[in-house]
Every structure is written in C-alpha cells, then in structure tokens.
Subunit: 133 residues, 2 copies
Amino acid sequence: MPNEAHMKAALQAYIDAYNRNDLEAVLSLYDDNATVEDPYGTLPKQGKEAIADFYGSAMANGATLELAAPIRASHGDSAAMAFDAVVNLPQGQVRVRVIDVMTFSDAGLITSMRAYFGPSDIEVPEANQSSAS
Amino acid sequence: MPNEAHMKAALQAYIDAYNRNDLEAVLSLYDDNATVEDPYGTLPKQGKEAIADFYGSAMANGATLELAAPIRASHGDSAAMAFDAVVNLPQGQVRVRVIDVMTFSDAGLITSMRAYFGPSDIEVPEANQSSAS
C-alpha cells in the first residue's frame, strides 16, 4: 500500500501540474487502467487515452485549482482533498467547490479518481446568475 | 435520488448534532443498514447498533467538528465535506483533519460513510509530539 506521504505528494503534484497546464505530468500520476469519475454520478472515463481526452478538455477551460484545506491521506489506499476550481472571466470569477478522492495502486499510481461537486457547488458572477423566482 | 440541498442539509445536521452531543440525532440521519468506515482502511461498522456503539465512543472524546470548507454535493447520490475534529486538552489542542464522504438512499438517509484521514492528519500539541529523528 502506498504510504501517506507519497499519496499527499501525488495530490499536490496533481494540483501543481494542472495549474501549469502540464497534461503529461497529470497523466503520469495515473495508472494505465485508471478510472476518472468527474463529476461523481456520471459515467467514469477509463484508461489513459480517455483520461487524456478528459484532461485536455478540462484544462482548456483555464481553471486554477486552489486547495481549500490541507490534503488528507487515510489508513488505506486513498487520499482526498477539498479545492476550488477557479476560472476568471471578463464578467467575474466562476468558482467550483470540489472534493476529489483518489485511490492508489501499490506502485503509487492513481487507480481511481472521483470528483464530488454538484450544480449547487458552482458559484457564478452575480450578473450571470439566472433569476430564481 | 436525494437532491443536493437535502444532502447538504443532512451533513450540516450531522455536524450540529455531533457538536451538541446528540447521539439520537446523529443516528436518525442513518439508514438502518448503513455502513460506517471510519477511518477508511478499517473494517466498516454495519447497522444501527454497531453505528450507535461507534458514535457513543467517538462522542465521549469530546471533539468539536469544524467545517474546513463548504459542504459539497454531487451529480449523484453522495455528498462530501472537509472538517477538523478538534479536542481541547489541558496540554493543548488536538486537531484531526478529515474528509467524510456519505452516500444517500432515495429516502434521503445515509447508507454509507467513509472518513478519510491518516496518522499524518492528526496534529498534536508540540509537547506531545514524539521526537522524530
């Protein structure tokens, strides 16, 4: 089982790689047969190719990931982190509040990722909000 | 599937009930056959009786739960939250950094809880730390 320090370092490396738009570095953290369920509640992407497609599209949005609290490890094969994905638009800032849970292989690669956020976790600029009645 | 607002309210109710030491209110959030894996990586407790025993012991520690970031919902049957469990001891404060992920039944009750934290997520008062060499 990967140790806590390794898993936490991998999640920090994920944040850092994402924020410098380094797709290869993000993919290098994943096992070849990993699954990515982002958001949780949708069909998981499986395998490096599908995951590469997913991150290629996701990173094109230009979001910056900001940790909302220190990364957590576990007594098992997983680590988790709360972060905000922030996109700066001309009309203001969009902030998506997410918790990611990753499981790891014995070799220390991510075997699954699940991203917990729903429509209610997306903050949009005031002027963009649909008027709720 | 339970809606996002319901799941977020249930997690807030969990925090509030825990903090007023209200075991019955915590248990009322759980489905009769729910599992609690706390911490993740250990054998889950299953069913109301086992879960009652677990919380009875846990709450005796006198920890206060403090949200570290807003509660997240999802596009599925789950919600998640990052919080710190804080215990004030004569020699200082112990802080355990946790992320909980809960799944919900259609009826809106918690069917599973997983608590992600490891030994490295426990901050102990300076004087209590073993001297690492």
